[in-house]
Symmetry: C2
Subunit: 530 residues, 2 copies
Amino acid sequence: MHVPMLINDFLKRAVYLYPQKVAVIEGEKRITYKELQDRVNRLANTLRSLGVTKGDRVAYLSPNTLAMFEGFYAVMQIGAIMVPLNTRLIPDDYDYIVNHCGAKVFCVDADLNHQINPIKDKLVNIDHFVLLPNEKRATEEGWLTYEPLLEKASPVYFAEEMEETDPATILYTSGTTGRPKGVIQSHRGLYFNALNTIIHLRATDQDVLLHTLPMFHVNGWGTPFSFTGMGATHVMLRKIDSSLILDLVKNEGVTIACMAPTVLNMILNDPKAKVTKVEQSVRVTLAGSAPPPSFVKAVEKDLGWEFIQVYGMTECAPFLTVAHVKPHIAEQGEDKIHQVKAKAGLNMLNVELRVVDSEGEDVIPNGQDVGEVIARSNVVMDGYWQQPEETAKAIVNGWYHTGDMGTVDEEGYIEIVDRKKDIIISGGENISSIEVEGALYEHPAVLEAAIIAIPHERWGEIPHAVVVLQNGSEEVTEKDIINFCRERMAHFKCPKSVQFINELPKTASGKIQKVVLRKPFWDNSERKIN
Amino acid sequence: MHVPMLINDFLKRAVYLYPQKVAVIEGEKRITYKELQDRVNRLANTLRSLGVTKGDRVAYLSPNTLAMFEGFYAVMQIGAIMVPLNTRLIPDDYDYIVNHCGAKVFCVDADLNHQINPIKDKLVNIDHFVLLPNEKRATEEGWLTYEPLLEKASPVYFAEEMEETDPATILYTSGTTGRPKGVIQSHRGLYFNALNTIIHLRATDQDVLLHTLPMFHVNGWGTPFSFTGMGATHVMLRKIDSSLILDLVKNEGVTIACMAPTVLNMILNDPKAKVTKVEQSVRVTLAGSAPPPSFVKAVEKDLGWEFIQVYGMTECAPFLTVAHVKPHIAEQGEDKIHQVKAKAGLNMLNVELRVVDSEGEDVIPNGQDVGEVIARSNVVMDGYWQQPEETAKAIVNGWYHTGDMGTVDEEGYIEIVDRKKDIIISGGENISSIEVEGALYEHPAVLEAAIIAIPHERWGEIPHAVVVLQNGSEEVTEKDIINFCRERMAHFKCPKSVQFINELPKTASGKIQKVVLRKPFWDNSERKIN
């Protein structure tokens, strides 16, 4: 029997089995699953009364709040398409994205609507601006007020007829070059990611998930769906604050949180972490560049939280791999475990991965040979919104090309060594910029560092370091930095030159824009970098 | 991106991530996943060389062996349809089923081929008979020999182009009336059941699954797929023997087994169970009628195995529910836990259940009101093979009608009280035959009992008991039995008459054929039972 895989199935199951259980905690507020469905129904009917129908886009700009959470379900329940926006963009970006996706309704948190007011007139497709309340403010002229809309709406459940291939969300990626692209994910794609999350992050009804990861970021990695399906509880978090996070972990009995490495680092370095003892088991899921094994150890030993590294990207809903430790590896002791836990890991269920060279041939699975990671799975996007030529570049012969360079070992563990665009090819040798940066970060005076390729007559490219020094650090010379690296790695990998600057250019989501750093070196070069 | 959900994905993942891990243990034999894929490839190519192509049926008659296990993957990999047969049928049944499904190749274990030899000439569609070896014998005239076929076949991987909606298996149900019907399950249906198994039975690569449940029975509940996908190890078991089971649990580090209540009862009553101590955690999954909570307690306390009750049927691949204990119920103490663990339980993910009255309206979820359990899910079959009218009776308005009468409580827990056909309606009151039988089984002299409806002028129907006494039990009268029941339940539920017989009529899979018991009472009645 064919029953379409629809995202609202997860909420339906929670409402059926856990109606009286707390679904969402926001500050002092507690909303049960039954109440949540009631509010979602009212929001769904509100959106319909505002003219939103199947296939229409609804944009959200909000930190992690109950209203944002409700948005996911209400929008998808009526067959519309959720477009959650990065809260760290600038008005010009919002102008571009909201017009590009053609959203009809724009729901914006009261903390952020000052970013939208100056561009309201430019958002020509938006019929209605809805203000989502913050703690202090719920109304503003020119904005519809959220709670009264819900109050006067019908609480009767309505779900649009849908197929699982219908788009559920468009997620704009903060590319390091050019304008963001809109990743289209279907209900089926999100559903598969949710099942994989349930399986590989072991979601249960005993879980209390703290939303440390922004929900605009790949829909909070799909946790609003996966953990709801199992009847877990969601704890909202408006702002990253390590002290507040530690309090919530303790007071709300948080068992799992997903976050960026910087946030976990902040928690680890908070003196409060040492004195906050909790009874429940806590696991923390990280993505991003591979941490040093010593970091994994610190999290597991000092903080006492189980460390789970995952790897993925917006185009993949997002999960491709999880750094699961196989039983026979776990027997090899803690050092080995921490080392394996720092990798990207093993492909999840229903995810096929390959690591291929420039000819498209599989590299030898020896953990050494580097190639591009490519993926085939239901979690891969359907394409970029209204950019078929970009889609065709990303999905070739049925395989999504991640743009990440990595290795795979004989056990199937993937390690990411670099972005394809950032790898340096010097005298025919591949140099991983991430590896060299790792050495630079060990230098006590280095706050941030980026290694880029610059043109060189003999070697084609050579590694060049761009370094931001710690405040108040001793004077450090170019030679010091180069020698420091030479003590740690093969000489051909070490930077040949070092540039000190005050700040690295970054995207809104915090990725270093190496393209900006490279530009001055390549503009007048005869050779051009790929 | 659409990637079809195909059963061979599970084996592919295991071969990719766990090539050197033991996949199958059969006696002294150990086969790694890499070796298993090699053997599956050879079998797949053998079947192709025997003329099997996409959509063709291949029948298997075998106990739980490596060869049977290989059959599932090889048959499905080439797009053919696996038809595993109940080993407890008689030649006349095999004649009917093999001809009905139109299988081209028939693979039969050497323990069982004596059942097939007398009917070989009648199996007109079978082009090739393949003998699967037992411990003593591998060849017989008129039968192809398994291992030499594999040896000479190509080990090159071949997989047919398939869609997830293609049929993967036809499972003949041992109905309690009439000829067995062939349940068609697609790759998608089996895939969903496997995902649900992984989630709700918590399958991991640390698992060692003992195949105590016959693989012919709903493909071993899909465990050859689910546990393979996670990289677990499978231990084969040719015959049910509680002593051998306990040895394997200890010696092979078994962590999970699925079985019928009678098998678990056998293990529990084996004196060896008391002296067999194992280090690993063991969980046991049961289906069938709800056990008394005292039985759950005995399994968990005396045997030390985690007890997991599930509910389903061949038509549902098979799982619909699992008796998961919600956290807030677990807090209510052990007695409550054992009571909840004995229920059919909560609907799994992607399974919608309703309990409806004869008008199709939902009964009140009070754990009291009885209705028919109906299901809507991807795990529901596509239909009965070449029996569209039977399919139309079973799936009405998109809901599969299980024929099971049950209750649902406010927490969503389902309890099955009776088969629809077996419930007794006396003076307008529903009487659960299972409930009355439960009371009869408490009588020390009763070995087996069945309660059936017989016609009655005033009440319409009344409960009638058919009882088999224990060997050597004291003399027991009809009045004794009736009084025994009256001490235990409302008088209207108690049998009004008792019949003593030597043996209850049963199907090949051990279900009591109440239709046979009812027949003489109803043949001359003006009223007819539904």
